[in-house]
């Protein structure tokens, strides 16, 4: 293979998820009625905001070679906490701060804090107590969702404070602010992961934890920080959920974890750690969101949608595996 072809092939492989996204968008635009319009593309970006933000935190932990199964429940708990405090009907307490715009940063900080605390708890047990991240975060997935039930009693908080709600309905250049928040988060964390020592250390830890430790890098501190960040980012996803739906129900965010995992894997992050970029993850998120939107628009019989969704995700993952095998042959 001549170097030029090889470079072209490597470029395609490096960006396969973006090509898959483009392919899917073209196919759906051609065959799904009403799909090809700017408003639908804006919806795809908006619908991917919560999943996208959650996937950032999950990807950070997976890149270190660990796992965080609790992010979905953490998002739900943060959402419910914000909902209870800042909603005025249902179980909402209707807390009002003056000036009212203060409620926006206050609710966000609250969501981040709730998520960060649980992330710190997970991180401490995994790193300091040397326990399996899979088991610890699985347990957190269960008890945190249980806590949502306990604090809500199964009821919902509705009527979010108008100043916070404003974020959920405002648009900038035709794209909702929630989507801009997700895009900004992706840009920020992509830079952190690629350009800062902390980001590079996370990837190194995932590649070879022992070698990283021997190189004098504070592995434990970085790992705990990764869990704290995953929790806090999940908290932010919960905050976005509340402002998108204008309230919090006990089942909010249910099922997000599996989609987040799918997005991370499709986006090229290795479950073994050490490999992956956040722009790839964002493309994975957009890909899933495009599929969901197509399914919504196709008006298929309800029983079929889950099968089709699952098969399309499977196809994307298989294509990713195919990419890995070509890459190995090239190496």
């Amino acid at each position: 293979m001549n170097p030029r072809t090889r470079r072209a092939l490597e470029f395609v492989l490096d960006n396969l998820v973006w090509f898959m996204l483009l392919f899917v968008l073209v196919v759906f635009s051609l065959f799904v009625p009403n799909y090809f319009q700017l408003g639908i593309f804006a919806n795809i970006v908006e619908a991917s905001s919560v999943l996208g933000v959650m996937s950032i935190g999950l990807a950070l932990v997976i890149i270190t070679g660990h796992m965080d199964l609790s992010v979905e429940s953490v998002a739900a708990l943060s959402a419910m906490t914000v909902g209870i405090l800042f909603c005025s009907s249902g179980i909402g307490m209707g807390v009002v701060l003056y000036p009212q715009w203060l409620m926006v940063p206050a609710s966000l900080v609250l969501a981040l804090a709730v998520g960060g605390l649980i992330g710190a708890f997970n991180g401490y047990l995994v790193v300091k107590m040397k326990m399996s991240a899979f088991i610890i975060t699985l347990a957190s997935y269960i008890w945190v969702r249980g806590l949502v039930l306990v604090i809500s009693g199964g009821r919902s908080a509705q009527d979010l404070a108008p100043s916070i709600r404003w974020f959920g309905i405002q648009r900038l250049m035709g794209i909702p602010l929630t989507a801009w928040i997700a895009i900004s988060s992706f840009i920020a964390f992509s830079l952190i992961l690629a350009k800062t020592p902390f980001g590079r250390h996370l990837t190194m830890i995932g590649g070879n934890e022992t070698a990283t430790f021997r190189a004098g890098i504070k592995v434990n501190r970085n790992l705990i920080l990764a869990f704290v960040l995953a929790g806090a980012i999940a908290g932010m996803a919960g905050w976005l959920l509340v402002i998108r739906t204008s309230g919090a129900t006990a089942n909010l965010g249910i099922g997000l974890l599996f989609n987040a995992f799918a997005a991370v894997v499709i986006g090229g992050v290795s479950l073994k750690g050490g490999v992956g970029t956040l722009p790839g993850v964002y493309a994975g998120v957009l890909l899933l969101s495009s599929i969901n939107t197509a399914i919504n628009l196709m008006g298929l019989p309800a029983n079929f949608t889950q099968v089709i969704h699952g098969l399309l995700v499977l196809a994307a993952v298989l294509l990713d595996a195919f990419k890995q095998s070509i890459r190995q042959r090239l190496a």
Binding site: G39, G154, R171, R244, S246, N251, L297, A302
Partner: protein, 346 residues
């Protein structure tokens, strides 16, 4: 040391015995197998059943299956071993629980079906609003709303279902579409909101409003789905009344949306009456006496008992709630439990 440990265990055992509800004087313990606690109807059903059963002398314990059929089957097996006065079952899956119901009844434990009707085997009482009937009531309301807006029953309806694995939503869809089939000029687009999750419903509404901007009416199968639908409409710059909205189950959030002018109609499930009906007949159920068919006054509503192949069945009709009656305390969504005391049926 041993003495201290023995004292501690002694105190704990005494506290446990005193705290055990069985210590209290009741006619017996009834287990309520609730399918999930993730929605307000279900949590409301727990408190309503508890309240009414207490009024007729029973203590109630609740087990939550978290929407998992296998968990509910195991819970049924466990409860059968405890030999309670009766089991009230709101089945996760309408048919998968059939063997468990039969096992309970074979062990001499009466089984009451609550909210979700199981017709494939006998039970001692079924108390339902009727999910298919909710679909019928919703169709009648859709007919009125479309006529008022378009001059005749024509237009486009977006039906936001719940999870496609939940027979509750599929039955409502069946009833609704069966009635709406009489109106060929009405187009219905049905999309499921996976896991009954609100943000999924919001996304569906956002997408469909772009693909079909001429949607006249959105029918969400639960009030919390309508909340997310409203958020999407608001985000698209719509005002209350621009798109008509309707939902079913009568949750508090639905009534709030009616008051705010977003929701036109909420088809209620008469939660309090459904629960009160169970309590009214509990003595007869526990003592294995006949429940006679006919009309019964169930906390002010007319309940009709019929003898069906699967046993006595009481159905209390659900009402349509709109701006004119939204504040009526009889609707469970107003969260004011009835002050009337339930009495055992004669």
């Amino acid at each position: 040391m041993r003495r201290i440990l023995l004292s501690v265990f002694g105190v704990l055992a005494l506290a446990f015995a005193l705290l055990t509800p069985a210590f209290a004087q009741t006619k017996g313990v009834v287990y309520y197998m609730v399918p999930t606690l993730l929605d307000e109807f279900q949590t409301g059903s727990v408190s309503a059943l508890e309240l009414f059963l207490k009024q007729v002398g029973y203590e109630m314990k609740t087990l939550n299956a978290d929407n998992k059929t296998d968990v509910q089957q195991s819970q049924m097996n466990d409860v059968i071993a405890l030999k309670p006065g009766a089991i009230i079952l709101a089945a996760v899956d309408f048919n998968a629980l059939k063997p468990s119901i039969e096992a309970a009844r074979a062990a001499g434990i009466p089984v009451v079906e609550f909210d979700r009707q199981i017709t494939s085997t006998k039970s001692d009482l079924t108390s339902v609003a009727g999910t298919i009937e909710i679909g019928y009531v919703a169709a009648e309301q859709a007919e009125k709303l479309l006529s008022a807006r378009n001059g005749s029953v024509k237009g486009k309806i977006l039906q936001v279902l719940g999870d496609p694995g939940d027979p509750y939503t599929l039955d409502i869809q069946k009833g609704f579409e069966e009635k709406m089939a009489e109106f060929p000029e009405v187009k219905i687009i049905s999309v499921p909101a996976m896991q009954w999750e609100a943000s999924n419903a919001g996304t569906i509404v956002a997408d469909q409003m772009l693909a079909n901007p001429d949607i006249d009416l959105i029918f969400g199968h639960a009030a919390h789905l309508s909340v997310a639908a409203v958020a999407s409409l608001e985000s698209a710059g719509k005002k209350p009344g621009d798109v008509m909205l309707m939902s079913s189950n009568g949750a508090p959030v639905g009534l709030d949306l009616i008051r705010k002018g977003w929701l036109n109609v909420e088809v209620e499930q008469p939660l309090y009456a459904q629960a009160a009906a169970v309590a009214m007949f509990m003595d007869k159920i526990v003592n294995k006496q006949e429940i006679k068919p006919g009309e019964y006054d169930v906390i002010g509503l007319k309940g009709v008992v019929t003898n069906e192949e699967w046993g006595p069945n009481i159905k209390v009709p659900g009402a349509a709630i709109d701006k004119s009656n939204v504040d009526d305390p009889k609707f469970w969504g107003n969260l004011k439990p009835p002050t009337d005391t339930v009495k055992s049926a004669e």
